[in-house]
């Protein structure tokens, strides 16, 4: 690890530290979790730096809230800071797992999962321990678009390969194929042909 600047390994996550993950419904390849820490208390003799830490590094970012929903996020300093138009949806605490919040930035909409960093880290350790113990558990496949199911090509008990087509959903005159995210066995098929589905509906369970 680097010893210069704000080294990542020296950050002791504050109880307020938060991990922000792009929720499955909006996730795209390349999206990574982000951990944000409040500015650490200044060390004796050092000037106060109120900038938050993002993944362990200071970031020049200020959020100016205009009302309950609208905000402006300014990132960067000097002559050319970037200002983003932000809409903050309501925080939806879940009975289990991370809270959810819809955020729209410059017209891009994303569902985010928010969780105290410490808890997220615990969760991760628990998962690793579990997976090291043997079998990867069943995974649930949820709908990322709404539409009408026009074809279902697998049945419970079928063996599927990663990338194999499982169903076809028609939305706005376009056919969208749903493919298996990994090799496995179909445990459950939650939908049938002709059914209308909503974003987030459980489509398949694969083990």
């Amino acid at each position: 690890m680097s010893a210069t600047g704000e080294a990542t390994d020296l950050i002791l996550h504050d109880a307020r530290s938060v991990r922000v993950v792009v929720a499955a419904a909006s996730h795209l390849e390349g999206d990574t979790p982000l951990t944000i820490d409040p500015a650490p208390r200044p060390i004796l003799g050092a000037g106060e730096d109120r900038r938050p830490l993002v993944d362990g590094a200071r970031v020049d970012a200020t959020l100016r809230r205009l009302d309950g929903v609208r905000a402006r996020l300014t990132v960067g300093t000097g002559d050319d800071p970037t200002e983003h138009l932000v809409l903050l949806g309501e925080l939806r605490p879940a009975s289990t797992g991370p809270a959810l919040r819809e955020v729209v930035v410059d017209g891009w909409r994303v569902e985010l999962e928010l969780e105290p960093e410490r808890r997220a880290a615990l969760r991760e350790r628990a998962r690793r321990g579990h997976e090291a113990g043997g079998h990867g558990g069943p995974i649930e496949v949820h709908a990322i678009i709404a539409g009408r199911v026009v074809a279902v090509s697998v049945r419970p008990g079928d063996l599927v390969e990663a990338g194999q087509q499982m169903l076809v959903v028609e939305a706005m005159k376009m056919q969208n194929e749903l493919r298996s995210p990994r090799d496995g066995t179909i445990d459950r098929v939650g939908v049938s042909v002709g059914q209308t589905i909503e974003v987030g509906d459980l489509l398949m369970v694969i083990s």
Binding site: A71, P93, A126
Partner: protein
Amino acid sequence: MSASTPPPFRRILVANRGEIAVRIIRACRELGVEAVAVYSDADVSAAHVRLADAAVSIGPAPAAESYLRIDAVVDAALRTGSEAIHPGYGFLSEREAFAQAVEDAGLIFIGPRPALLASLGDKLAARRFATGAGVPVVPGLLEPARIDTPDQVEAILVEADRIGFPLLVKAAAGGGGRGMRRVESRDVLQESLIAAAREAASAFGDGSVYLEREVLPARHIEVQLLGDDRGSVVALGERDCSIQRRHQKLIEEAPAPGLTTAERRRIHEMAVKVATAAGLRNAATAEFLFDSDRSFWFLEVNTRLQVEHGVTEMVSGVDIVAEQLWIAAGYPLSQRVRTASVHAARPSSAAIEVRLSAEDPARQFAPTPGRVGRWVMPDGPGVRVDTAIEPGDRIPAEYDPLIAKLMVHAADRPAAIRRLRRALDELEVSGIQTTAPFDRYVVRHPSFLAGDVFTGWVAAHWDGPAERAKAVRAAQLAAGIVEIESAAPGSFAGGGTPTSSLAWRAAGRASAVDRWPR
């Protein structure tokens, strides 16, 4: 029309839904014409139903069982005592059988004559009309490509070599890019023709296909036409619709930037010639490609109101939908239309439209039906929004993803672009992903500002996933900052829904128990 002129009709039926049905109903109200809406089960509480004077249910959500049912629409018009039917665009608007059924029922079809829908709706026939009128068409065939016998195959290959590769195989009855294929080389031509013919037959009920040169780079420029019963046809000006993806237009503007007055005159004259030769009545649009040698090539005629008619309305000062009603009622082209056509080659203002669609510009513009949360549309000087959406509305998966058209009008193109940027900054939509980020990107891009547009612009300049990634990072940052700024140590509050740390710990334990795979 003078103040004493009675309305063109007493009552008409609007055979469409969404923003275009609302647009037509608005024209009706302004003219003193009663409007009757039709609706499917998915649209029971839709804006066009609410705004109309009366509404008739015509079937279940799928368009084939409602908005595309000729008998149900004509029957609704007869039962409500409507005198005419406005088809809008899409759905039945270009179907000869529909226009004919309307006339057979003793009603007026607000559009071209049925026979013209058949003739100009066939792209090959339209190419023959244009050629006959001395208007250059994109090089290619004027007759359907037949490949039933070896001789025919040989003849087509010879023709294809003459046209040059890559070329396009197009469906004679197609539109909006459907039934179109790009053929890279001679050895895949035959199979492409077979596949295209099969596709065309299933999509349009007509398997005729033909070959056309792919003009690259090219701009898409089209001319708004109006014609009356007496054979007068005029051009109201042209639009540039080059910013498109897979032949679906995304941004349209009037006038086309960078044309000389002589070039504007030339394309307007070409469009009027084709339309006059075909006997156009009511509204239509002639589409052309404009190549790098500054030549215009005729493509096709759309025999209906276009999605993008609004920008021409702004620049010409003509209410095209109102004029459609007057023309359909038998009036000659109005003085306003004639005056506008005289000035069409010397436009004195500029208008730009962006199509706001329920599509994800980071996922190849895949549709994103769902429920709209927040819905704030821009306003203020020079801004027009045509939409049928309100906060909380569901965007049904059954229909076109277009949810709003944002138009701006200003003294010139740079001012219009500045106004559009301002308007897009005021736009707020949550609940579904829209094409707003794409629009925001285009209006800031130097090549768009320079008027350097072409049909390959999106492929050349738009990297959706990269643009999205920047915004997602900012969204994560914003959401994180809200939490660390609003939370007391140990708690996790925000958005007016404070949650005690105890509840969080309990939730954490529950989730650790519940979510782990067993």
